[in-house]
């Protein structure tokens, strides 16, 4: 069976599924299909892996098992009329604070913003996919744009598909925005395709450090100023306790008016708390 191009295979991006040119030019121009890990000859290209192509003489491939340059937690909350996302601007190479001005929040279109933690190069690839989707909408020029919910759904499919191919995109993504009808959307998807929507989300270390604060202080009808204050407090806590973070942050807002990504800023910090001087004093079992 010949691999049959489907429209979504193109939308899922080059190398993910299906042939690159969705419109076959003609039999004359078509090359015979070459099997790849992503596109085995079985024909079920979008949903299966050909094991013989994944495995080499050296055994199963392992280069997908570690991230290299990573970003840490992303925090986001809903508030009255929009979503606010925040994260620092570090790209860490292992424990080295290698790139200190990496912007990890992108604007997808007028209604949607995406932020990412995890492997930066994978996020840059995802950025390209999303750019292409936005360009497709622009090309069609019919006044229809992907809403945040659709972008979120798309990303969950991409992430799960790649995980299913044993070649995951090493990211935690946060999608926020406002639908055409004014509903506020916030969701997150992880590297293996797990996803959920909530009034507040935090990835990575933030899930432990920031979410307790969110549970206490966040409400969907809180003001923009309150939301920003909450995020700043949460960022500060994350910065105190997460060695993979730096004191340079960005906050982005997605509202009915559009997406605004703020300039990087630093937070006031205070390091002379007594508990900081003897960090293991109250932590039983620590050394």
């Amino acid at each position: 069976m010949l691999p049959r191009p489907t429209t979504h295979s193109k939308a899922l991006g080059p190398g993910v599924a299906g042939p690159e040119l969705a419109v076959a030019t003609s039999a004359v121009l078509d090359r015979p299909p070459q099997p790849t890990a992503q596109r085995p000859l079985s024909g079920a290209q979008a949903f299966s892996v050909d094991p013989s192509l994944v495995e080499s003489a050296d055994g199963p491939r392992q280069h997908t098992q570690y991230p290299y340059v990573t970003g840490t937690s992303v925090l986001a909350v809903k508030y009255a009329g929009g979503v606010m996302l925040a994260c620092d601007t570090l790209g860490a190479y292992g424990s080295t604070k290698r790139y200190k001005s990496l912007e990890r929040i992108i604007r997808v279109n007028a209604r949607t913003a995406v932020a990412a933690g995890g492997e930066i190069s994978d996020f840059q690839y995802i950025t390209r996919l999303l750019e292409e989707l936005a360009t497709d909408d622009y090309r069609t020029d019919d006044g229809i744009e992907l809403g945040p919910r659709e972008v979120f759904s798309y990303l969950t499919r991409v992430m799960y598909n790649r995980r299913g191919k044993m070649d995951p995109l090493w990211n935690s993504l946060v999608v926020g925005g406002v639908e055409a009808d004014g509903t506020v959307f916030l969701g997150t998807v992880g590297m293996i395709g797990t996803h959920y929507t909530d009034s507040h989300v935090a990835t990575g270390f933030g899930a432990h450090l920031a979410r307790p604060m969110f549970r206490e202080r966040q409400s969907d009808d809180m003001s923009e100023a309150d939301a920003e204050a909450l995020l700043r407090d949460a960022l500060r806590v994350c910065y105190y306790r997460d060695k993979q973070s730096i004191n340079k942050f960005q906050v982005a807002k997605a509202t009915g008016e559009g997406v605004a990504i703020g300039k990087p800023f630093a937070l006031e910090t205070k390091w002379d708390y007594k508990a900081f001087a003897a960090p293991t004093k109250w932590a039983i079992g620590a050394w």
Partner: protein, 249 residues
């Protein structure tokens, strides 16, 4: 020499005794019979315009477009068979997005034009396919500034200061030659294009609408439809100019 009835004009892979490929010429005919389209290169950008006959009052206004976005910095106006034109536009969009993903920057107009020309030329090489019955006016704005190209069914492509295709191409070209294209701004060109299209339409009097796009500094160097109010203004000016010239007659 006419090829009709000689049997030398039935395939794109057949030469006539005097060295012509008639099928290519016939495909060009489909373009020549189509509604008129024109492109103008101005000092600050490109304007594309095309007339569309309104064949039924049941049609939704401004549907079935002839001008399409290819990428943010490029657009195509197709003359001839609309379905063929759409396929060429699809190909252009693919080329643009492939180039972008490979080189990380927008496809230069010159390259896009070349690739489209090669693509259309391909259909002149095999007996099993027919040449495209469409010609594309390509407007781009890249590092080298704005540029206007015309890609024809034969696979020939040229860069222009101003050109026209379709039924009234000769009349439009005459008008364009009278204008000082290098000194025009796009805003002025929009009005001029409307005037020309109204003028060449004077005789038949059939209902038609004008579709227009530009890519210039006013549009942020992004290819987009000319805003409705700008187009309406231009059409009003065109109609006023027509009446004026009628009075003089």
């Amino acid at each position: 020499m006419s090829g009709i009835g000689t049997g030398y004009d039935l395939s794109a892979t057949t030469y006539s005794p005097d060295g012509k490929v008639f099928q290519t010429d016939y495909a060009q005919k489909a373009v020549d019979n189509s509604s008129t389209a024109l492109g103008i290169k101005c000092k600050d950008g490109i304007v594309l315009a095309v007339e569309k006959l309104v064949v039924s009052k049941l049609l939704v206004e401004r549907s079935s477009r002839r001008i399409h976005n290819v990428d943010r910095h490029a657009g195509i106006c197709v003359a001839g068979l609309l379905p063929d034109g759409r396929m060429v536009v699809n190909r252009a969009a693919e080329e643009a997005s492939n180039y972008k993903s490979f080189y990380g920057e927008p496809i230069p107009g010159r390259v896009l034009c070349e690739r489209l020309a090669s693509y259309m030329h391909l259909f002149n090489l095999y007996w099993s396919m027919r040449p495209y019955g469409t010609a594309g006016l390509l407007a781009t704005y890249d590092e080298d500034g704005p540029a206007l190209y015309l890609v024809e069914p034969s696979g020939v492509a040229h860069k222009y200061h101003g050109t026209a295709v379709g039924k009234a191409r000769q009349a439009v070209k005459n008008e364009l030659e009278k204008m000082k294209l290098g000194q025009l701004t796009c805003r002025e060109a929009v009005v001029e294009a409307a005037k020309i299209l109204h003028k060449v339409h004077e005789e038949d009097g059939k209902p038609f609408e004008i579709e227009m796009s530009w890519i210039c500094d006013d549009s942020g160097r992004v290819h987009q439809r000319v805003p409705a109010e700008v187009l309406a203004e231009a059409e009003a000016a065109a109609k006023a100019a027509m009446e004026e010239s009628d009075m003089e007659d």
